[in-house]
């Protein structure tokens, strides 16, 4: 692994990236989440029990209900 020494230029680069990320996550995304179309989408996902970022079936809330229905049918 290459070792880098923090220099003023590199520290400034990091600070710029952090500032940009803060602007996006603390200002832009909350504003976007308030837009009616986005709100509608987010509520639709909530109602259906869908976590779009789920990486495995155990992380999907909707899957618990689906598995419960399948168990009841099998019984």
């Amino acid at each position: 692994m290459r070792t880098r020494t923090p220099t003023p230029a590199r520290t400034l680069k990091l600070a710029a990236v952090v500032a940009a990320a803060a602007a996006v996550w603390l200002a832009f995304l909350p504003w976007l989440a308030r837009q009616p179309a986005v709100q509608e989408r987010l509520r639709w996902l909530e109602v259906h029990g869908i976590d779009p970022s789920a990486t495995f079936y155990t992380e999907l809330p909707a899957m618990q209900e689906i598995l419960r229905r399948q168990r009841n049918r099998a019984d």
Binding site: P6, W25, L45, P52, S53, F56, T58
Partner: protein, 469 residues
């Protein structure tokens, strides 16, 4: 052998994950409600809860204020949620467990304990970035942000030396994978009957092997391991398959990062385009759902795409993807065996002995398989097994597993230089491999789904997936 079991990372991962699984299961077992008359009723499942659940957490989903990720005040009947307490407890448990493991292996636990809070803080930041509702809505998973957070630091001011004792990428991944094994429950294989098995377990290996061979013999990919990881994440189930396969074939960290980046990029596109195509051609919900489940890499994206078509499509899509998730164990085992017996052969024609195979075989894969077998048996054979196992997974082990993977990706980002990624983009071979493999996957999955759901088992489908859930 005993020294290896005390010092090797694979065995330590098995012990750490095994300890967590045992403690979590014991907590659920001892707190389960007693049936008054000792006679259970299959029609009346026991409500089992996990007493550890309130104390283990990751940053919550948030929309307006980042503080929502760590604290929600009480409102109406809902009590206040102190997520930050759960986050701190998880951090404490992981640091204690790993420090003990490192001490057992004769390594410096002190250095690890000084470094871990920083790496854990970065993982918490990654989870927080990934937790914004709009970011989640586009399937931009925590793995991506964990990589980005690490990469930003390593490629600007440089990774502080202080962090390095806690940048234990492989250890985190192996421990997380053994925990994941407990979520791979064999009884779920037949959730959609034979049609589901054919779509998820027949097509997937064919696509995996065909794409790998295409990469080796036609594209002539320089790196076999990169080829294998891309083939697996595209054909099986995205990030979790990429992690398991990369560990099984000892892929480089840059290769895992690249494979995940490719998978996430195409997943977002497919999540939007495929449902539109299905609606445009008038495909049935069942066929469309099966096609989505067998082709879109990520579980969350599959669910989004399925729900756009309807409840039946969502059920079929999510179930097909779940059956593919179960294939991860077999894939990791098969890839590890292939790598040890064929790829790592010492010289042409010399077949390794059984002892050599055992020596070189990644032991954590055995831990993964063992966890799957044990929890599958508990699920099937214990009274109230499904409720008990679900409570263990949903209330505790799933949370730990996610944290281990997040820590692993932060560590990868902290160790990676942007320039190290550039050679992999040369010639565009990884992209061509993914596109060609996914095209085969789309065609073969559609054909098999049509054959199974609309021809061979068409009569069974209404029983398997009723029209009105």
């Amino acid at each position: 052998m005993l020294t290896e079991m005390r010092r090797s990372e694979d065995w330590l991962a098995i012990w750490c994950a095994g300890a967590l699984l045992a403690v979590c299961f014991a907590a659920v077992w001892w707190s389960r409600p007693e049936r008054g008359d000792g006679q259970g009723s299959e029609a009346d499942p026991v409500a089992v809860s996990n007493p550890l659940k309130p104390y283990l957490a990751k940053p919550a989903s948030w929309e307006q204020s980042v503080l929502e990720a760590f604290y929600r005040p009480a409102s109406g009947d809902a009590a206040a949620k102190l997520t930050f307490v759960g986050v701190l407890i998880v951090g404490g448990v992981i640091s204690g467990l790993f420090a003990a493991a490192l001490a057992l292996a004769g390594q410096s636990a002190g250095a690890f304990l000084r470094a871990f809070p920083w790496v854990f803080l970065l993982a918490t930041l990654a989870y927080t970035l990934a937790g914004h509702a709009v970011v989640k809505a586009y399937n931009l998973e925590y793995a991506l942000w964990a990589l980005v957070v690490g990469l930003i630091i390593s490629n600007t001011v440089g990774t502080p030396t202080l962090f390095r004792p806690a940048m234990l990428t492989e250890f985190y991944i192996k421990t997380g994978l053994v925990l994941l094994g407990a979520e791979v429950l064999m009884s779920r294989l037949l959730a959609l009957g034979l049609p589901g098995v054919f779509v998820a377990w027949v097509v997937t290996p064919i696509v995996l092997v065909s794409t790998y061979l295409f990469g080796q013999h036609i594209l002539r990919m320089q790196s076999r391991s990169l080829n294998m990881v891309i083939s697996a994440d595209m054909s099986v189930c995205g990030v979790s398959a990429a992690i398991a396969t990369a560990a099984a074939c000892k892929a480089k960290k840059e290769e895992l990062s690249l494979a995940i980046g490719l998978s996430l990029s195409f997943t977002v596109v497919m999540m939007i385009v495929l449902p539109a195509v299905i609606k445009a051609v008038g495909m049935s919900e069942t066929l469309g759902g099966a096609w989505l489940g067998g082709t879109i890499d990520s579980t969350g994206a599959v669910a989004v795409a399925g729900a756009v078509l309807g409840d039946r499509a969502l059920e079929v899509a999510a179930t097909v993807k779940m059956i593919q998730n179960i294939l991860i164990g077999v894939t990791a085992f098969g890839v590890a065996l292939y790598w040890v017996t064929r790829v790592e052969r010492k010289s042409a024609g010399e077949r390794p002995s059984v002892r050599e195979i055992w020596y070189r075989f990644p032991k954590f894969v055995l831990g993964f398989v063992a966890a799957s077998i044990v929890f599958s048996l508990l699920y099937a054979m214990l009274p109230g097994g499904p409720e008990l196992v679900d409570a263990v997974i949903q209330g505790s082990t799933k949370t730990f597993r996610g944290w281990f993977f997040c820590l692993a990706f932060v560590s990868i980002g902290l160790e990676t230089n942007f320039r190290a990624l550039l050679p992999y983009f040369k010639g565009g071979k990884p992209l061509i491999l993914y596109v060609c493999g996914q095209s085969l996957n789309l065609c073969l999955t559609l054909f098999m789904a049509w054959l199974m759901f609309e021809v061979v088992f068409a009569d069974m489908i209404t029983d398997l997936v009723p029209t009105a859930p």
